[in-house]
């Protein structure tokens, strides 16, 4: 897996309109076909990175420096129209909440073929064959019924399957999976995770997998970036990270993951000393950022 990365984020910083920082000099490269997990607690900015890549940052968030390169094309330097075309052709999103990610007043079929037909210019018959094939891959037994259904007629797990099928349908180079299992109940989570892993292997798609769940990280990713307060504090191969976490925050995060055998004792909040150390680190980074910004 050498050569040009599929996604290359370099020194990306973003702020809110009031100046408070959301991302602090984030650098991150995802190789073609690699699954990169992005972990951190809520508010760490992990979803913001995904949104920045997909070009859907909320209007209140501004990129102040850095570059996002997708397969060698610099997205940040592009005119908006061209950027949207690039993102539409090469990336896809598996969203967090399957209940709101499908349009409630449109049938599933047209929602799935929309991008293929209207953005990528496929003819309708080819798009139709394609989504049937993908629905089969995500193990939907009655594609006919699902294609004609409205979203509210399907369960949450089914909808997430539909969204996964839709994400892979256009053979994107990169998929941003934004906490794709968080909104599902535990039994369905596992199936969905397996499904994403299987399709990823089959299609060789790179995935930026945003999650707060270290258990999910261990199952699906090859590399992990740990994020705190918009800053990447540790980056490692998944095996290496779990074997020997280097950063105190990563260790604290692992200690905070509930264990099935002893759920209460294993639920530890992150230690005060670790948080103090992190704050110092962030302040230092901000100092240098201010100095040259």
């Amino acid at each position: 897996m050498t050569g040009a990365p599929c996604l290359d984020i370099f020194n990306l910083s973003a702020t809110l309109a009031n100046g408070s920082r959301v991302l602090r000099s984030v650098s991150l490269a995802v190789a073609p076909g690699e699954v990169r997990a992005l972990v951190g607690e809520s508010g760490a900015g992990k979803s913001m990175i995904g949104k920045a890549v997909l070009g859907v940052l909320p209007p209140s968030v501004h990129i102040v420096e850095g570059r996002i390169t997708l397969e060698g094309a610099d997205l940040t330097g592009m005119p908006p129209k061209q950027r949207r075309a690039q993102i539409g052709a090469k990336t896809a999103l598996i969203p967090q909440d399957p209940l709101t990610a499908l349009n409630p007043s449109r049938r599933i079929g047209p929602q799935m073929t929309d991008r293929l037909v209207k953005i990528l210019g496929w003819d309708a018959a080819r798009a139709d064959t394609r989504i049937r094939h993908l629905l089969d891959e995500v193990q939907i037994r009655e594609p006919e019924r699902v294609i004609r259904a409205y979203p509210h007629e399907l369960s949450g797990g089914m909808r997430q399957r539909v969204l996964i099928a839709a994400a892979f349908a256009a053979e994107p180079r990169l998929i941003v999976a934004d906490e794709p299992t968080t909104a599902l109940d535990v039994t369905v989570q596992k199936q969905i995770l397996r499904l994403i892993a299987a399709l990823q292997r089959e299609h060789g798609t790179a995935i930026l997998f945003v999650t707060h769940d270290l258990g999910v990280v261990a199952k699906i990713s090859q590399k992990v970036s740990v994020l705190y307060a918009g800053k990447i504090v540790e980056e490692a191969d998944t095996h290496a990270l779990f074997a020997a976490p280097k950063h105190a925050y990563t260790r604290a995060l692992m200690a905070a993951t509930p264990k099935y055998t002893d759920p209460l004792a294993s639920l530890k909040p992150v230690d005060e000393a670790v948080l103090a150390g992190l704050s110092a680190e962030i302040a230092e980074a901000d100092g240098t950022w201010r100095a040259h910004g």
């Binding site: 070009g55 993102i87 909440d97 709101t100 349009n103 409630p104």
Partner: protein, 283 residues
């Protein structure tokens, strides 16, 4: 979750059919007025003045709801008055709907400057008392059916604008809109294809309600003699005449009021019923 909604849904359905039934009846009567009306609505006959409705003593066959003080047949006048009411309802409400919904959709979906400008205009508009505004407009434009229609559309587009803006705004924050963005669709295409279908049920309900309101406003304007020429029967005009002879012939006042009441109520219930039918989540 489905239980109470389901029950509410069947409840609305009965109203949908009752309301739709009355509207269809009134609409057909208005459309085929020359065939249906038992008498010429303008023909005066002083021999037959103030005839009572059919169940009273002294009623004449062929004059089912009685006659007014000039001997004109009340039922025929109501049927012809319905023509004016329906023309105003359909054209004025549709015009208000198109203007208001388009502006509301743009303001709610695009936000920012578009929203600020549209919202300020709506605020200013709503500061005028609507009926006085209508009378003023008709006084300026001159009386006549076209003026009445223009006045209603000009005043009531804000009703659509406010509701559609709020709905478009909340729909725009949904994930499926963001999803369409990442797929590469432009904002205008998303507004029409993703947001509009979700706002449509509300627009339909509101359109029907607005038709009822247009019927009332037309009645008010013809009551104060600002609608079409006084010879042609309008419900408001008949009510105005009936008011003068309330002690001698109550029916001239009461029947047009009943027609007005049923029609306006039916429009609003019909709209709610349609909304429940239209909305895939409630269906």
């Amino acid at each position: 979750m489905a239980e109470p909604r389901l029950r509410a849904h069947t409840g609305w359905n009965a109203r949908l059919w009752l309301a739709g039934g009355w509207l269809l009846l009134a609409l057909l009567a208005a459309l085929f007025a020359p065939l249906i009306a038992p008498q010429d609505p303008l023909m005066q006959d002083l021999m037959f003045e103030r005839l009572p409705p059919f169940w009273h003593q002294g009623a004449e066959p062929g004059y089912w709801l009685g006659t007014d003080s000039l001997g004109r047949d009340l039922l025929s006048r109501l049927i012809y008055g319905g023509r004016v009411a329906f023309v105003v309802a359909f054209i004025a409400a549709t015009a208000a709907c198109l203007v208001g919904s388009a502006l509301g959709l743009i303001a709610g979906y695009y936000g920012g400057w578009a929203d600020r400008i549209v919202s300020r205009i709506v605020d200013i508009w709503m500061a005028f008392p609507p009926v006085l505004f209508a009378i003023l407009l008709v006084a300026v434009l001159g009386t006549g059916l076209t003026s009445v229609i223009i006045a209603i559309a000009v005043i009531d587009w804000t009703r659509f604008c406010r509701v559609v803006r709020a709905e478009a705004m909340s729909q725009s924050r949904m994930d499926y809109v963001e999803n369409a963005r990442t797929a590469g669709f432009g904002r205008f295409a998303i507004m029409l294809r993703e947001v509009l279908p979700n706002v449509l049920p509300s627009i339909v309900a509101l359109l029907s309600l607005e038709m009822g309101i247009a019927v009332i406003v037309e009645a008010i304007l013809s009551f104060v003699n600002l609608s079409i020429s006084t010879d042609d029967p309008t419900w408001g005009g008949i009510i105005a005449e009936g008011r003068l002879s309330i002690h001698q012939a109550w029916w001239v006042l009461v029947f047009p009021l009943i027609a007005l009441f049923l029609t306006v109520l039916s429009f609003s219930q019909f709209g709610e019923g349609l909304k429940a039918r239209f909305d895939p989540v409630l269906r």
